[in-house]
Symmetry: C2
Subunit: 148 residues, 2 copies
């Protein structure tokens, strides 16, 4: 497996590592999110619920920044969560441009129910690697990830 490119050693090595990185992330991502089907949540919706659960009420731009998505996207994802009454929008009076988003009781209950499944799925998927290998993977990936 790997690249079909005929190039220098450096090129082949970089392309190969890159392809495997992207494939691994896609594969892991699809495995760990499989359980979301059962509760009819998309990955983005889950991301919002998780962020709100761990960080508390956030504005839409905070959420967009955290999840590395555009503001327009957040508007839609939160629309869909709001339709199911899993989150609530609140326009604050101190700055009326800002929309604060928080979990409803139903949203809190749902994320509390599914987060353990999420953790279990990640542990199971990542346990293909040993503890040392996971740490090594983390170190390498951190250097490639967005510098914040």
């Amino acid at each position: 497996m790997g690249t079909h490119h005929q190039g220098t050693e450096q090129e082949v090595r970089a392309l190969d590592a890159c392809i495997k990185l992207v494939r691994a992330a896609e594969s892991v991502s699809s495995q760990i999110h499989h359980h979301l089907e059962a509760v009819n949540l998309t990955v983005s919706q889950f991301g919002v619920l998780e962020a709100l659960w761990h960080l508390g009420t956030l504005s839409q731009s905070d959420l967009a920044h955290k999840l590395l998505r555009s503001g327009g996207n957040m508007t839609l994802v939160i629309d869909n969560l709001e339709k199911r009454q899993l989150v609530r929008r609140d326009r604050q009076s101190r700055d009326r441009r800002v929309v604060q988003v928080c979990l409803t009781d139903a949203g809190t209950q749902l994320i509390q129910e599914i987060f353990p499944r999420h953790v279990a799925a990640i542990v199971q998927t990542m346990n293909i690697l040993t503890a040392t290998e996971q740490e090594e993977l983390g170190r390498l990936c951190r250097r490639l990830g967005r510098q914040e």
Copy 2:
């Protein structure tokens, strides 16, 4: 950085590695595809052109399988490439269900023009890591990736 989850060591380690893997892949992916803006191609469209260039004419289901996307998705992506006359559809007479997709001259010219930029971007991005580290990353990711 990492997870906000309070759990066992095993859980924290797995979540941490998982988050960094997915973030790294997103970051790398966005960096290496940045040059596609200049030629107004999407990542999916580029994927199709690249596959056709390296592997020659393929059926839509071959493409869907290679690129790990649904058949319905391929229909749309190829529609959009066909509108720009970068690829051509051919219904074969031996099995009229199958649509073979091939590069047009314009498509070949375009992929030949941009593929070197693609390689250069990957080399530049991945060179954050040493050669040995890239190989190690490749080994770890291969084990996490889809088993084919």
